[in-house]
Every structure is written in C-alpha cells, then in structure tokens.
Amino acid sequence: MFGYIIKRLLWIIPVLIGVSLILFGIMQLIPGDPASVLLGPKASQEAVDTLNERFGLNKPIYTQYYLLMKNFITGNLESIYYRVTVISIILDKLKATIELGLTSLVIAVVLAIPIGIVAAVKKNSFFDYFSMMLATLGISVPVFFTGIILIYIFSVNFNLLPSSGYGGSLLTVQGWRHIILPAVSLSSILIASTSRLTRSSMLDILQEDYIRTARAKGLKEKIVINKHAFKNAMIPVITNIGNQMATLFGGAILTETVFAWPGIGRLAVKAVSYRDQPLVFGTILVLSFLYVLTNLFIDILYVFIDPQISYS
C-alpha cells in the first residue's frame, strides 16, 4: 500500500511535464511574432528585441521551453503586466483560492451526502422528489448565476452578507461573512451531482443480499444504513467527487470573478484579458497542479475505503 502511494506520487511528475508541454504548445499558437503581439502594435523595435532576448524567443523551440521552465521553477519568470515574478503573485493569491475551494468542498460533502441518503431511505417521499428536483435543476444552473442570485437575495435585498471581496483570515467573523456566499455558490453544482449520485448508489446498495441479511438478523435500521450500506455506497460517490473536481476548479474561476475574490482564478482571467502569457502559463500550471493533486488524494483515499481493490 505504501509502495502504491509512492508510485502515485511519482506519477505526478510526468503528468505535470505533459501539462506544461501542452500549455507551451498552446502558447506557440499565437499568430505572428509573439514579442510584437505581447507588446502591442506600437512597440518599438528595441523593446521587441529586449523581450526576445529576455524570454529567448529567438532561440530554437526546445531551448525556449527549457528557458521557460527553468525560469518558472527558479522563480525568475516575470509577468509582463505586473512587472514582478509570476511565482510571487501566485503565492500571494494561492491562500484565498485554497480557502474558498476547501470551504465549498466541506459544505458540499456535509450537505449533499445526508440529503442523498435520506432521499434514498425515504424513496418516493415528498423530500425525495423535492430534493432530487432541486438537484436536477442545480446541475443546469451556471455557478455565476447562482452567485448573482445569492448576491441579489442576501446582499441587495436583505443586506445580510457582503457582496464581494475578501474578509481576511477565516479565524475572524469578517472572514467568515465574506466567504459564505462564494463558497455556497461554488458548492452548488457539487451538492447537486453528489446528492443525486449518493441517492442512486444508496438505492443500489439497499437491494443487496447482505443488507437483507442484516435486516433479517434483526439489526436496527439505523445500524443497517450507517454501518452496512453507507460505506459501500460511498465508493462511487467519491469517484464522482473526483470527477467533479474539474468543475469545481473551473467554477472557482467564475465564483472568484463574481465575488471579486482575490484568488488565482481571477488572476488567470486577468492574465488572459491582458494576454500576459507568462502569467497565463504560471496560473494555469499551478491550478492544474492543484487539480492533479486533489485527484491523487482521492485515489489514495480509495486505499482506505475500498477493501476490494488490492494495491500490490
């Protein structure tokens, strides 16, 4: 098992090299001379030459890639718009993104799994229909629209929570007040898909023979559900949460934009609008790294949850 975890950890390296190669390849799609595109049509020849020199843009393509990666890792890659190193800007914004992501993940798990279980146990009840209708709706609602509606209700109409910005550390009340709306809207999609899947997975498990056996030997329904059904039903649910991570990361970009949350997602959008290629490269690479890391974490989680899979 330990060997498996090490193997999975090492697998990150080729994936990240692949991702950086893909991003580098996409950067090569910039039509025309990259330096003059980056600096705009009015740039002087001198400025173009300096930029070419700095990024090695006039060197062969593999040298360009090597220079880009070397500069990025050693922290020398500079943003064109902000004039500081990419790494320093990203590290500055990383905390806010991680806080937002984790909070919404926690909200989603805490709400969605109980909803799904209750809906499955009380199949065809009012609660079941109502929650599953909401979930079907929830999958189709874009996160930014959820965000706008939440702002409209809680900030504009009732004036309860701030509509945008970062409130500082999560240890303070102000920090919590600011994070509630973005975290809830980001978690909405995850809640919808997770509760639907928990319900269907629970329904499948509740028909199994061992559940009938457990009931037949006179166990309380509560124990049957909590001990026998729950753990087995969670395996597909966790797979789904892993698959939904891409949506969560994409949603983070949108939520950060709606709520002016100072995270990497918003930084990436700014970088794209300014066409600041080094910053685009850095932000997307770091976000992909986080994404790969969360998926890895979920894969490792299986080791502890699913005894049927052997990792030798």
């Binding site: 891409a246 970009i253 934009t257 959008v269 992909s288």
Partner: protein, 343 residues
C-alpha cells in the same frame, strides 16, 4: 381528431406569424438572417401540414422495429419528452428569431431608455441602453446553440478519431494516444479554454475551437472501448480477410456500434458547451458585444443588479432552461438507447 388539435393550433399560429412578417412587415428575403428564417419557416409549415393532413407518413418509422422500441421507451420518460419539446421551441426561436422577436436585438427604444422594468411593450424589460431584453434573449439563443453545436461537432470529430485510432491499432499507439488524452484532460476544462483563448485572442471562432478542444476524453474513451469490444468479432475478421481496407472496416463495421453512446454523450456535451460558452462570455473572453449572448448579458446584468435585476434574471433563466432541456434529453436518450433494455 383530438390528437390533431395541438398541431392545428400550431399551424394556425405559424400561418399568422408568417402573414404578419411576410405580408404586413414585408420581411421575406431582405437579409441573410431573414432568408434563413424564411427557409426554415417553410420547412416547419410543410411539416405541420403533413402532420395535420397526412399523418400516415410516419408509419415508415413504426415498421423499423428497433427505432420504434427506443421511441416507446423514450416516450415513457416525462422529463425527456419535456426536454425535447423545449429544445424544439428553442431551435425554432433561434432560427426564426427575426420573425418572432418583437424588436431588433440592438434597437434602442428611446421611450424606455436606461433599464425600464418589465411592461407591456417589453415583457422582460429593457437594459441600460434601452434594448429589449426579450429580443436579446431570443437572438442570444442563436449564438448559444450555434457555438455549442459547432464546438460539439469539433469535439466529437477529434474525440472519435482519437478513440478509433487508439482502439483499432492498439498496442503502443493506443498507449500513446490515451496517455496524451489523459494529460490533456488533467487541465481543468475552463482553464484549457482560457489558455487557448489567451493564445488565439477573443473571437467567436476561437471560442468554438477552445470549447471544441476541451473534454475530448469522453468521446475518445467511449469510442475506444466500443472498438475494443467489437474488434475481435468474427464479422470484423471476415471483412479483413476479404481484403477490406482499415477505413472501410471502421466505417461499416465499427462505427455503427458506437453511434448510440455517442449520441448520448453528444447531447449531454451540448448542455455543457452552452454552459462553458456562457461562462467564457461572462468572463468577458467569449462572445464579444454587440452580439447578444446570454453570458455577456449576465455580466452586464451583474453591474446593474440593484437597479435592474431583470437583465440578469431573464438571461440566466434562458441558460438554465436550455441546459436543463439538453440534460433531460441526454438522460432520457441514455435510458432509451441502452441496448440492454431494448432486447
């Protein structure tokens, strides 16, 4: 007779709309948009006439056993039926926008400048320039559907080709292609679209390319696994032994087996693509103004949320209804086309 009432009402409504546009407003063949609307209207008109006066033309489909069984399975699913009806309405609105929308999308109503609330002339209100929201939502459906369909076609084409190559040739090629697709997939899809747009620039064609290149893994995986499951079958070997080329084997013996999962994935992908395009437009990186798109409207709507909430509410509702219709249809198709249930 009872069954004919709905098509009859639709027919009368259609004739009224056409009379109003062709004869009263003299919109028949003036511009490309109106030409498309006219051609499509004639098509709808013929279809409605056939349904009302000659309903037995559809008996052909009833003879096709498998189609009819799928159809009966499909009809049972109320959500799927509702989704299909909604999609028909949305496609109709999109193609016939100049005939149905009460105003031009960029027409400024000087009597209702600066965001007036919903009223009788403007059922959904106007935006900050005094443009009719209802008309902009209707015109927005063309952009949404157009970009979504185009990008899903691109997506399916590339994904299916990769899946076919990986599955058919196997071995090292399979390994290489699938690792490549997996790495491609390890960049979250919005980020990948952002990177592509950062390189190519903001433009509607680039949005199609960006959305079309994300999420290839779904199509590639399903095609590959279907190919693997039929590759060793006798009829494929027989075709090969008879000297069929690879292309012919793929076209005649392998692709037909993949059609139904691809239809399901494609339908679900269209909903996702609409969401993604709206997201990109919301970020200001997708469809650019003055073209009316739902995402751009939502972005402006957020700026005027306090004074004019209707701008964002109605464009948001349009996105939700469209995406939900495609999701419902996709789910229903998955149940109906499942070969296990048809047997």
């Amino acid at each position: 007779m009872k069954k004919k009432i709905i098509p009859l009402i639709l027919l009368i409504a259609k004739i009224y709309v056409l009379y109003n546009n062709w004869i009263v407003k003299n919109k028949f063949w003036n511009s490309l948009q109106i030409k498309i609307a006219t051609v499509f209207s004639i098509f709808v008109l013929i279809l409605l006439l056939l349904i009302v006066f000659k309903p037995d033309i559809f008996s052909y489909f009833k003879q096709k056993e498998i189609l009819y069984k799928s159809y009966r399975e499909f009809i049972k699913n109320k959500g799927g039926v509702a989704g299909t009806i909604m999609i028909f309405i949305i496609i109709y609105l999109a193609l016939c926008a100049p005939f149905v929308a009460p105003f031009e999308p960029d027409e400024i109503d000087y009597a209702n400048m600066s965001a007036s609330a919903p009223n009788l002339t403007h059922p959904m209100g106007t935006d900050d320039f005094g443009r009719d929201i209802l008309s902009r939502v209707i015109y927005g459906s063309r952009v949404a559907l157009g970009v979504a369909f185009a990008s899903v076609f691109l997506n399916a084409f590339i994904g299916i080709s990769l899946g076919l190559i990986a599955g058919f040739y196997g071995g090292k090629v399979d390994n290489l292609v699938m690792r490549l697709v997996e790495t491609w997939n390890s960049i979250p899809f919005i980020l990948l679209a952002l990177a592509i747009i950062a390189a190519l620039g903001k433009d509607i064609i680039n949005v199609i390319i960006a959305v079309g290149l994300t999420g290839l893994i779904n199509f590639a995986r399903i095609t590959r696994s279907s190919v693997l499951s039929v590759k060793e079958k006798e009829y494929v070997n027989a075709a090969k032994a008879l000297g069929s080329s690879d292309f012919r084997v793929i076209k005649n013996h392998i692709l037909p087996n993949v059609v139904s999962p691809i239809i399901v994935i494609g339908t679900l992908r269209i909903g996702q693509a609409i969401l993604l395009v709206a997201s990109l437009s919301f970020l200001g990186l997708g469809v650019q103004p003055p073209l009316s798109s739902w995402g751009t409207m939502l972005k402006r709507g957020q700026e005027y949320l306090i004074q004019a909430p209707w701008i964002s509410m109605f464009s948001g509702l349009a996105i939700i209804i469209t995406v939900m219709s495609f999701n419902l249809l996709g789910d229903a198709l998955r149940d109906a086309l499942d070969p296990k249930q048809i047997d």
